[in-house]
């Protein structure tokens, strides 16, 4: 398998999105054994494992070092702040931040950048203007894509959606809600129920089953990765295959498998692994004194459907099977 050296991205400047190619720094272009601090909300699901894989792979490729801290969940903002404090105190060279709250990390981002530590906003979004770069695909865009896909599939026929976007209060989830509803505006697609809740699989499964009891006109079940996984199970259990279709607005391996097996229709992918590589590349470029192509960039999302499932590269989306989560990597560069 070829090492990734470049991939298509979208550069974002305000409202303007431009497609481009992002070329990764080669190992030789990185001159120092930079030590990067990586902060994740948690590392308990395949999404963040894929992110870890992407970051770690890029760190290895460039011979730099990293340490990863995870806060244990989206309700643990103060834990994440403590970890960020620790990173600043330990004088890491750069920070990649999968923020729990777009606002909440502001002061610490400022403290870090004031201390000369570049901070790359990764996956979740940070509002603080002093942040050094954003490596992310917004969940607004992803859910918008899903919405448009469903509008397309509905072909102008009235279509009813049950929507399960994950916990309320999580910024990414709220973005997804907005993206999806913007996409289906002025179409015959309507949301019958938006049921928000914890991202536990069993919790989602119960909510979806209850929704199937309550709303019998549902044509689609759409939700965050784990909800889509649960939806596929629920549809199968209720023998509704063919009547109710499933789509996600982000992808994890079970959803991918469901798409391949026909149990789910579609999900956009944000190429989580590439996003990780992009984040590392951004922070290294800043540390090398380079200017970024754009302050905000993310891999160009792509729809994974039964047709495209063969063509998208799994290693750009997911950690490979048998991957061991990496928390710290020593530099191989001198």
């Amino acid at each position: 398998q070829q090492p990734v050296t470049s991939f298509p991205v979208q550069l974002v400047d305000g409202e303007k999105k431009t497609d481009a190619d992002w070329k990764l720094l080669s190992a030789d272009e990185v001159t120092k054994p930079w030590n990067i601090c990586v902060l994740f909300p948690h590392l308990k699901d395949s999404y963040w494992v894929a992110a870890d894989y992407g970051v770690a792979a890029e760190i290895r490729r460039t011979g730099t070092a990293m340490t990863l801290y995870e806060a244990g969940g989206y309700t643990n903002l103060s834990t994440q702040l403590s970890q960020m404090d620790n990173c600043i105190a330990q004088k890491f060279d750069g920070i990649i931040l999968g923020a729990i709250s777009a606002d909440g990390v502001g002061p610490l981002v400022k403290r870090a950048t004031d201390a000369g530590i570049p901070v790359i906003d990764f996956v979740n979004g940070v509002k603080e203007p002093s942040v050094s770069g954003h490596a992310l695909v917004s969940f607004y865009d992803l859910a918008y894509k899903t919405g448009k896909y469903i509008v397309e599939q509905s072909d102008g026929k009235p279509t009813v959606v049950g929507f399960f976007p994950g916990p309320q209060g999580a910024g990414w989830s709220d973005d997804a809600v907005r993206g999806f509803s913007d996409a289906i505006k002025e179409s015959k697609v309507e949301i019958a129920v938006t049921r928000r809740g914890d991202t536990g699989l069993n919790v989602q499964l119960d909510m979806i089953n209850n929704a199937l009891q309550t709303y019998d006109k549902l044509n689609w079940l759409v939700g965050v990765d784990i909800a889509a996984q649960a939806a596929a199970v629920a549809v199968r259990n209720a023998n509704l295959g063919g009547k109710v279709s499933v789509a996600a607005f982000d992808i994890i391996p079970p959803v991918y498998d469901d798409i391949a097996a026909g149990a789910a229709k579609a999900s956009p992918t944000d190429f989580t692994v590439l996003q990780g590589r992009l984040a590392v590349d951004m922070v290294l470029r800043l540390l090398q004194g380079q200017k970024l192509q754009a302050k905000r960039a993310g891999p160009k999302p792509q729809m994974v459907t039964a047709e495209t499932v063969k063509s998208v590269s799994k290693t750009d989306m997911f950690a490979p099977a048998g991957y061991k989560v990496e928390f710290s990597i020593e530099a191989t560069k001198k």
Binding site: L43, W48, V49, G200, N202, L205, D206, V233, R236, A319
Partner: protein
Amino acid sequence: MTLIRSQAGIKPSAGANAVSTLLTFGALPIVLAICIVVFQLGNPRFLSSANLLNILQQGVFLMLIAFGQMLVLLAGGFDLSVGSVVALTSIISAQVMVAVSLAFPEAPGFAIGAGFLATILVGLVCGLVNGLGVAVLKVNAFIVTLATASIFRGVTLVISQGLQVSGLPRDFVYGIGSGFFLGLPVSFFFALPALLAIFLLVRQMRFGRYIYAIGSNIRSAMVAGVQINRYLIACYMLCATITAFAGWLLTARVSSGEPLLGGEFPLNSIAAAVIGGCSLRGGEGSPTGVFMGVVFITVLANGMDLLRIGSNYQMIVLGLVLVGAVVLDRYRLTDATKR
């Protein structure tokens, strides 16, 4: 405290007497009945057979775990690790089943059997760890099970690396997980014997008498010759094993090994048991009560969804009903002390 504070007052009339007979089962059935009426009025689908099956399907897992939790509560303990045990079982049993079914692809029964064995083993080991911590190290059950919850979850993540395990035997997923038998979910038939066994254990067997005694007054149980450590450890092992069993059934239902399964169970199972009359101070409660508690919680969650109550308001309603149910149920106890 009852001695002094019992509200005793008025001499009961004949009517009050009838009420008191009714209340030997607590107010829970009444509250439940009211809820059912409200839900049915709000959505006629509520009592449809499809939805009843749905409730049954959803409640089975909590029922198993709450029964396990009850054993521990009766003995004066507490098990916060049930969620982690579910996740650990899910991952380990799934990995075992995948491995075995790869080795013997033509005999899915073999893989399922191996997965079941692994499940029981995980349950026994986890329970033993909890039990040793509580009985031998004599550390507070809250701390022990909080600690083991963290440990088991850590182990789950180390083993699974946070990734789901897919590729479970088809018979497992479609037979046990989403199969029906005589019109009822297969998992129900799996759970039934386990629940019945616990019921008998608690109500009809020496074991039950001993754990009530331990939970009520551990020192007096010791003086009465009960082998405290043995029974305490047994309680934790039974609790973890039945929880693991529930985790295994849940794995079948969700059709993959999930490292994050079951986070809702610790608090839910304790809440169900307490609503059903278990005391956190031990020695109080019954399987019938816990049964009612689980039914109550499950029906409530389902009914609110069917009433199309938004999730934020559901949280508020859930809290109010939780307290309300216990307040009403207290009349049973007050009544008992009055009798």
